[in-house]
Symmetry: C2
Subunit: 206 residues, 2 copies
DNA sequence: AAATTTTTTAATCATTTGATTAAAAAATTT
DNA sequence: AAATTTTTTAATCAAATGATTAAAAAATTT
């Protein structure tokens, strides 16, 4: 019989959280299993004891990261009771909040997908899910009705996502290159919760 | 006396080009010096003979990449004889062309700057150069005149850059997740040469 | 063409790194 | 509390990897 013994956290969780932190910050290739062990304050062998290998541990972290982001998105995207405009507001606000909590996640995903693009496709049928979403049905309807001028949903989606995510991707450059510190950056992102939906409306609207 | 003996290319250049290719694709940490040697078709020891170390070779590639991007930008940004609007058009068109030639460069830079943010600041005084550019003088003038509604130049610049660069960053996701192939992607980017300046005007204009 | 310098190669080193093992320690069951 | 199972540790392995060396080959100079 297995028992939950969450005196603080279990060893397994400590390792997973340490791995997440280090992988997010440095990526798979630059991460040493010893970095993770040290971060978690455990013996190196425990990592392999609980997770078999660095690769396996990494895949777990990556799938949880992708899964978390996508699941949250789909809930909003498939809400039958909100307008397109409301969905945009929700997506923007939610993603800015989620990524503010874990600012390294976009670069982490982008970097790792570069090395292994099949990661995205092999496990999740993104395309079908997106195309059949309420969101894109509403988008097509808006295009047909003439209230959205740019007909290509790819441009629409890239712009929406880019205006939200790109600032986090260049955050290190902004912080190093301009004199922007963390709280200043976060304030800018909070501003964008209101700004991005307005901008999108201005851009894509007729 | 040194002689140019460009029978095709010199060994040194072969190594540098191979290094560029491999570093761009896989990043510093995931690149093995043996990968570079193989790509260049040379003996491994030659890499160290010509460039001392992997690290030195990498820094050379990175500085050339950054330098190329920034130098091209500054020329446009500081042209006294073009309007703000014309500058935006030029920046968008130029960057889309340059990055289309070398689509991996944005993710390369973003990934590596994450691991070493001081790379950006230590060698190039980005901040001063940007703030004193004709471009931002014109931007401030446009804000003062009321023809641009969003006063914060950071938002302005992030949006401009993001609308251009972000698609390339998520290109692997688009190609894997959606059924977009290379020529389709490039066509979309060519479309954006016209679209982005219009969008920017709609977004940021009053 | 002999001498010298530059370039290239094969072999090897020393470290790093992911992973395993055998034994100790702790927890759980009987 | 003895036996068993689970968790943790220290030591070590084998492969990968950045770098060096000494010698060979090629090019250049004298």
């Amino acid at each position: 019989m297995k028992e939950k013994k969450s005196l603080d956290t279990t060893t397994e969780d400590k390792i997973k959280e340490a791995a997440r932190k280090v992988f997010y910050r440095k990526g798979f290739a630059a991460t040493r299993t010893r970095d993770i062990a040290e971060e978690a304050g455990i013996n190196l062998a425990l990592l392999n004891y609980y997770f078999r290998s660095k690769q396996k541990l990494f895949e777990l972290i990556m799938m949880e990261a992708l899964g978390g982001l996508i699941k949250g998105l789909l809930v909003v995207l498939n809400d039958e009771h909100t307008t397109l405009e409301e969905k945009i507001q929700k997506i923007v606000a939610r993603y800015i909040d989620v990524i503010t909590e874990e600012p390294e996640i976009p670069t982490f995903i982008v970097s790792e997908v570069r090395n292994n693009p099949r990661m995205m496709t092999d496990r999740l049928p993104i395309r079908e899910v997106l195309d059949n979403s309420v969101f894109f049905r509403q988008h097509r309807a808006a295009v047909a009705a003439g209230s959205i001028s740019e007909p290509n949903p790819i441009h629409f989606f890239i712009n929406l996502l880019g205006l939200v995510v790109f600032p986090f991707i260049v955050k290190p450059i902004l912080m190093a290159g301009r004199g922007i510190d963390n709280s200043e950056f976060n304030q800018l992102m909070q501003e964008r919760k209101k700004l991005v939906p307005v901008w999108i409306k201005m851009m894509m609207g007729s």
